[in-house]
Amino acid sequence: MHIPDGYLDPAWVAATYAAVIGYFGVMAKKFRPVVTPEAAVLAAGIFVAQMLNWPLPGGTSLHLVGGALAAAILGPWSGSVVMGLVVTIQCLLFHDGGITALGANLLNMAVIDVLVGYAVFKTIRSRVGGVRGLFLGGLLGGWTGIVAAGVACGIEIGLSPQWPFGVAVTVPIMGGWHAILGIVEGIITGSVLAYLGAKAPEVIKG
């Protein structure tokens, strides 16, 4: 899901950078960067988990993104900070995701994945209690967050004056593939949350 340089129209580069700077600016002013030592451990864990690419037969691969997981454990704003840190370090240190696409990659993985995943997690959690609610919330939150981020990614690379009908191609591809890959994201998110809920429920603050 990391967009490299060259895929985005200049207008999208500007718009996504502006949106992300706006989001982090306003939120930081309101809530400060609320980061705990737990969040630091989780950030390191998500960074490494993203390096575990699972190749799939048929020539594709997937890895955990982790936005819904971070939001469910830390709450949406801290989740965004953690994901933002991971995505930024991936770009600056490892050339994973383009520098002109950093705004879009942050928007997809540190904002959309986190907020959508969190909203779904919270909705399920308020209806289903206990460890079961954590698993279900994580499963559906993880899945929805990834699909939303994938669709956003498809819109960003597909909607540009240079290729007028690009979205009609990219959105179904990104949405469709992530609807499948998102199952794994959901299962991992739900399982980690259920495990934490059983072993150390006080860790889950989202």
């Binding site: 030592p37 950030a43 690379i157």
Partner: protein
């Protein structure tokens, strides 16, 4: 330390990561949906060099597998370090 167990898990994940990130990825031909979408549009990657010290999780002079492990540990340490500093700052304010 309270989070010792979690940090050990991170290190173990980093050590096994090349199995997935390098060896199996090469075997199947690493390809993600974004590449498929870009191909259908005929989008081309434009490599802009901004001096990332460890491009694509490689370490100059090290073989890809060792480089991937070292990259993982360095990346996790940097991410952890910055977040930990942020947590100290947030506490002080």
């Amino acid at each position: 330390m309270r989070y010792g167990k979690a940090l050990i898990t991170v290190i173990i994940l980093a050590v096994i990561s090349p199995v997935f990130g390098v060896i199996l990825a090469d075997a199947v031909g690493y390809h993600e949906p974004l590449d498929v979408a870009a191909e259908t549009l005929g989008l081309k990657e434009k490599d802009i060099e901004w001096g990332s010290p460890l491009p694509d999780y490689t370490v100059p002079g090290l073989d890809p597998v060792t480089g991937y492990i070292v990259s993982g540990i360095i990346g996790a340490a940097v991410v952890f370090g910055i977040a930990y500093l942020l947590s100290k700052v947030s506490k002080k304010e």
